[in-house]
């Protein structure tokens, strides 16, 4: 308790720290938002709640790390992880997801949970259980007497995340496939009647999700550290964000992502970093309670 008050005191004594916390939170939140957007897409289009979301992120990180070890420029790891994870996503779809898509909720939950465990173990066997990261070797920018620090690597990561998100949004809005995906998510049967090959749409959506996660992971490995069993952290955040924002609400996903990042940073500053994940779960709980009270029955679709 004393420590909590002390920490609150620090925030008041050094107001500029608030800015630092918000900036840090927004930066990590941007990556949470990417993973969450992919989750919302798969959830909305296929009604599959992908528990392996976080492990896709980590796998992307390992791909980028592995390539960097081979001498590939680190920044190139992001598009390459995107491509490789696309292929992996497609294979997983054809092997597993296509078989559970029409089944009930629990089958797909179990299947993706199994994929999550398999992927974490495979990464562990292939790359070992030690933490890994890619060091870009860029400087750090300092503001306000060094209280606010923005490593250039982080800045690049966030910019890449923003570019990726924009591309996906534009793609979904204007491309033929994007329109087909949205149509399928609105009503798969009607889409089929109108000549959309929904099987193809599903495969595409799932691969795209894996690819987005992969790119997010490649950014994460440049800015933070990864370990084969870290997937769950990102999966939990993605679920919290999607639950908070709703499926069809892209600006909501982004806002929730950034918000959860900032709130977590505040929480870990005030209550101690050990409670960071607890805060994410607590937020999920609050959101669910709030939603229950709201009793919204309106149908939601991916826009």
């Amino acid at each position: 308790m004393e420590q909590i008050l002390g920490n609150l005191g620090l925030l008041l004594e050094f107001p500029v720290v608030n800015l630092k916390i918000i900036i840090d939170g927004v930066m990590i939140g941007a990556l949470f938002a990417l993973a969450a957007y992919g989750l919302a897409m798969v959830w909305g289009v296929m009604n599959v709640k992908n528990l392996a979301q976080g492990d896709f992120v980590i796998a992307g990180g390992y791909i980028a790390w592995w390539l960097a070890g081979l001498g590939v420029p680190a920044l190139l790891g992001v598009p390459l992880a995107f491509v490789v994870m696309w292929v992996i996503g497609w294979v997983i779809y054809k092997l597993v997801i296509t078989r559970v898509i029409e089944r009930d909720l629990f089958t797909s939950l179990l299947a993706t949970f199994g994929i999550a465990i398999m992927m974490a173990q495979l990464l562990n066997l292939m790359f070992g259980s030690d933490t890994q990261s890619v060091n870009l070797g860029y400087e750090t920018l300092f503001f306000f007497d060094g209280f606010v620090d923005v490593p250039i690597a982080k800045l690049i990561g966030v910019c890449m995340a923003a570019v990726l998100a924009t591309c996906v949004i534009v793609f979904m809005k204007y491309s033929r496939m994007g329109q087909a995906i949205r149509a399928t998510s609105q009503d798969a049967r009607a889409a089929r009647v109108l000549g959309i090959d929904t099987e193809k749409v599903y495969a595409f959506t799932f691969s795209l999700n894996a690819a987005i996660c992969g790119a997010a992971g490649a950014i994460i490995v440049m800015v933070w550290v990864i370990q084969p069993f870290y997937g769950i952290t990102y999966a939990i955040r993605a679920f919290v964000i999607v639950t908070a924002a709703g499926l069809g609400n892209l600006p909501g996903v982004i806002a929730a992502g950034l918000g959860i990042g900032a709130l977590e940073q505040y929480g870990s500053h005030i209550f101690g970093i050990g409670y960071q994940q607890a805060i994410a779960v607590l937020l999920l709980l609050l959101v669910l309670v709030f939603r229950m009270i709201q009793q919204r029955r309106s149908r939601q679709v991916l826009k």
């Binding site: 916390i21 030690d130 890994q132 750090t140 550290v225 101690g272």
Partner: protein
Amino acid sequence: MTITRTTLAVLGAVAGTLLFAGQSQAADCEDLVLGSAISLTGKYATNGVHAQNGYEFAIKKIDEAGGVQIGDKCYNFKVTYYDDESKGDRGATLAERLISQDKVQYMLGPYSSGLTKAIAPVTEKYKIPMVEAEGASRSLFNKGYKYLFAVLSTSEQYLASAITLAAEQAEKEGKSAADVKVAVAVENDPFSLDIRAGVLEDAEKLGMQIVIDEKLPRDLSDMSSILTKVKLLKPDVLIVSGHSKGAATAVRQIGEMQISVPMVAITHCEAADVTGNFGEFANDILCSTQWAETLTYEDELFGSAANYDTEFKAAYPEYADKTVPYQVAQASAAVYVFADAFERAGTLDKEAVRDAIAETELSTFYGDIKFSEFGNNIAKPMVLRQIQDGKYNVVAPSAFASHELNWPRK
């Protein structure tokens, strides 16, 4: 049928002769069987294999030196290994099997505190002496075990020496140790909490102020909120322990945020390869280790620590281009303790051997070994190395140090 049997018997005899002929020296020595359940697969596999190599290397050295003389007979160690798959319940089952089926009378330890904790009740039940080299948790040594002995320093000592060092530095600067401010961030697991307990205990004894005391989450990848507090509160010592993820995250973010604390001490530097991954970010960081090949320890069997390093690399070429992990060295030291105890006991009676182990006072290449009544080694200090220009140089304890401490860290 008879013919086949005879043939087999003859073949067996020939094979046996060949086998014995293959052992160039001490061929007349009998086998003395030790047992060990060790992690050859699973999450501890890397270090389990390190430990096994350490055992085998020591056994080979003892063979070459003429075996273990017990009374007027000579013996060669032979270890029956089982793979515990890095799982505690499996370890305990295998220990039962070693003792009750294979009739093993003496045990070498498994890898990790967790596995040791699982096996110790079994060896205790059957009154089987176990010398272990890889379980550092201090909770192993407050259970009143009588047959468990550990050659390594217990985990609460891992970073406590950094506190002593900080106090020495403060006095050099003309300040008192009570002026020193300490920040502690450790993971919330038994091993790291032991480290924290050791640090806090020593810091409080010296009257230091603890300004930050936080627990790191299991899946840590960002500790900037702690480092921001470090920036605000300006401690003199920062202690971080959270396995390799703690080391990697701390070094990376201390570098990125340009945190200037005069002394930063962490664990698991090698596992996280902080020098390779983060280059100059890692400079002047203190890392704890059980043993280093540059220490000035020596003994009759292995020679100096440096000699152990050279000979081990010659015997196991896969270690040639890396430093020999301390997990290997301490495993060898455990076998050495057994050899010494058997010779002093002069009998194979396990009670006599247990008492001889308890009375061990041995100087080895790994450090001095003397057990407390609880079975932990109280003679060997923990070593602190500082990363100086990408190299690990021993800076504490000062009696065995090869280099001067760089202080304050920029």
